[in-house]
């Protein structure tokens, strides 16, 4: 009896949590398989589910979607570039700070932490101005560099925390064998740090893929924007094809969800352990 009561109480929490979490995502899915009329009818399942919206999106058959594939490609290129650049910059910095004990490392770590604590929308204003000064506005490199700037501090922090836990005897042994700092970095440090590197790389990649604000500030040509910016353009029109907007949005949301679940094991331990140290 007492057990049944406990189960009932758990369900009483679990069911609302499931509805709360899934409702907006289900609504997105519902629109993507409905015609415009059915989408606007407020039904919870369309009478005639259709894949027509996907076909319109994939064949770019609407003037809002003229550059769909190009913009998807832009998102991919930018996300991958941000992932790798962040990994390279953060791994070298964490190695220098944590393992080589480079002088000034502590101060640089503090600079990174301070950057981590600037609210993203606040940094966007001076960053936009500076990108203008550098003549980078409307170049995809501007968005890549901006996202690396935002992702790197957290990446350095997480990697530094993980580096500190590696045994120092390894470095000593490698040194006695005559390893150079670069060999130590490549042959000992990077392989041992692999799980954290996967977590950090995925984090930076998803951050760039999902970004809206910086993308919409820094890029504006139809051919060089990322897909979220194009989705934002739908909003400014009065007769927005909402069912197509939702279909495109659903397509855009699938890769990050898949990547997240693939690397979940690394992400959860890597990110939560570094996120908050108390």
């Amino acid at each position: 009896m007492k057990r049944a009561l406990t189960e009932a109480r758990l369900l009483l929490i679990g069911i609302p949590v499931a509805i709360w979490t899934l409702l907006p995502i289900y609504h997105l899915f519902l629109f993507s398989i409905s015609t415009k009329d059915e989408a606007f009818s407020g039904r919870l399942w369309p009478e005639h589910p259709t894949l027509r919206n996907f076909s319109i999106v994939f064949h770019q058959e609407h003037y809002f979607l003229n550059h769909f594939w190009e913009q998807l490609w832009n998102s991919l290129v930018i996300a991958v570039a941000v992932g790798f650049l962040t990994l390279f910059i953060a791994a070298s910095a964490a190695f220098a700070i944590s393992r080589l004990k480079t002088r000034g490392g502590r101060a640089i770590l503090n600079c990174a932490l301070l950057t981590y604590f600037i609210p993203a929308a606040f940094l966007a204003v001076p960053m936009y101005k500076a990108m203008g000064t550098y003549g980078l506005l409307n170049h995809q490199s501007a968005l890549i560099l901006a996202m690396v700037t935002i992702a790197a501090p957290y990446a350095i922090w997480v990697l530094k925390q993980a580096s500190d836990k590696l045994p120092y005897e390894l470095d000593e042994a490698a040194k006695i064998d005559g390893a150079s700092p670069l060999q130590l970095f490549r042959l000992v440090y990077l392989p041992l740090m692999a799980p954290s590197l996967v977590a950090v790389g995925t984090y930076a990649l998803l951050l760039a893929w999902n970004e809206y604000l910086y993308a919409f500030l820094l890029l504006s040509k139809d051919t060089n924007i990322t897909l979220p910016v194009a989705l934002g353009h739908f909003l400014s029109a009065d007769d927005s094809p909402w069912e197509l907007l939702m279909t495109t949005g659903l397509i855009y949301a699938l890769p990050p969800a898949a990547i997240y679940y693939t690397f979940k094991r690394y992400m959860v331990s890597g990110l939560t352990s570094g996120a908050v140290k108390s």
Binding site: A96, D164, S180
Partner: protein, 292 residues
């Protein structure tokens, strides 16, 4: 007792103290640090210094305070930070307790629960935006079918629209903070709970005397960190209400970007400077906590 504390190893310096100056290890260290130092100087230090320099004119502030939108944005920002964050963190604290319960279906639910955080904000926020559409949105159609009355015009009333923006924010970031607190709870040794059970403690007493003392520091840190980040949460407001109706739901982040889009960079920077009295104490607290 701190829970997610990471062990601090005090390492032996790879180089002896005497020959630090020109050793290849130090040279390599400097080279490896250089990429980040360059990124920091070019994309953080210079822009921020230049931005603060642009915000030096007192006239910008008179102009800003004369803008009727500004006062409302300050109030909205404070409500966002005090109400939304505390509700979210309390919910995260509660749900982290739910998710550590050992049941297969709860494991599966926790896998789904992370989705709002993992997917991009634009599709999901636009989806919520349409759900709230007064005529065609699924919520008002449901209200009409159940009661025969028209539902409220969700995004056309300042407080209603702001509440919805806060709900969007909570929906989006609740999974992340729940995950953090779950990690905190899992770090509490099980023996403590077993001992409490032997002593006949109730569920509330277990929370009050075992869980909370271990989790309090992490909870406080998370709350402060979430407050700092929420100040920069542009998407929840911009994509849901666009600052409307009649610019009544702006927060400082969206207002700053609005000035930037109108090519009034001085005003945009002044808006940000006005947020510093909230940001700086929080950042100071976090820096003191993390950089020891």
């Amino acid at each position: 007792m701190s829970t997610v504390a990471l062990p601090r190893v005090e390492p032996v310096s790879p180089t002896g103290p005497g020959k630090r100056r020109f050793s290849p290890w130090q040279t390599w260290g400097a080279l490896l640090l250089a990429p980040y130092v360059i990124i920091f100087a070019v994309f953080v230090l210079y822009p921020v210094t230049y931005g603060l320099w642009l915000a030096r004119h007192p006239e910008s502030y008179t102009q800003l305070f004369d803008d009727p939108v500004f006062g409302g944005a300050v109030v909205n920002t404070l409500i966002f930070i005090v109400v939304a964050i505390n509700l979210k963190m309390l919910a995260a604290l509660f749900l982290s307790g739910f998710f550590v319960t050992a049941r297969t279906w709860i494991k599966w639910l926790s896998v789904l629960f992370i989705l709002p955080w993992a997917v991009p904000s634009i599709p999901t926020i636009l989806s919520i935006r349409f759900m709230l559409n007064p005529e065609w949105g699924v919520i008002n159609q449901l209200i009409f079918r159940l009661t025969g009355e028209d539902g409220p015009n969700w995004l056309n009333d300042r407080w209603l629209a702001l509440s919805m923006a806060m709900l969007v924010h909570v929906w989006k970031s609740l999974p992340f903070w729940t995950m953090i607190l779950i990690a905190g709870r899992l770090a509490i040794p099980n023996e403590l709970y077993e001992a409490a059970s032997v002593d006949g403690a109730t569920a509330w007493q277990k929370f009050r005397f075992v869980t909370w003392p271990s989790l309090a520091t992490l909870y406080l840190t998370s709350t402060i960190l979430s407050m700092i980040w929420t100040l920069g949460d542009f998407n929840s407001v911009y994509l849901l209400t666009g600052g409307g109706p009649a610019d009544l739901t702006h927060i400082l982040a969206t207002l700053g970007i609005r000035y930037l889009r109108l090519d009034q960079v001085d005003l945009a920077m002044a808006t940000i400077v006005c947020a510093l009295p909230i940001v700086l104490p929080l950042v100071y607290f976090m820096m003191k906590r993390l950089s020891r």
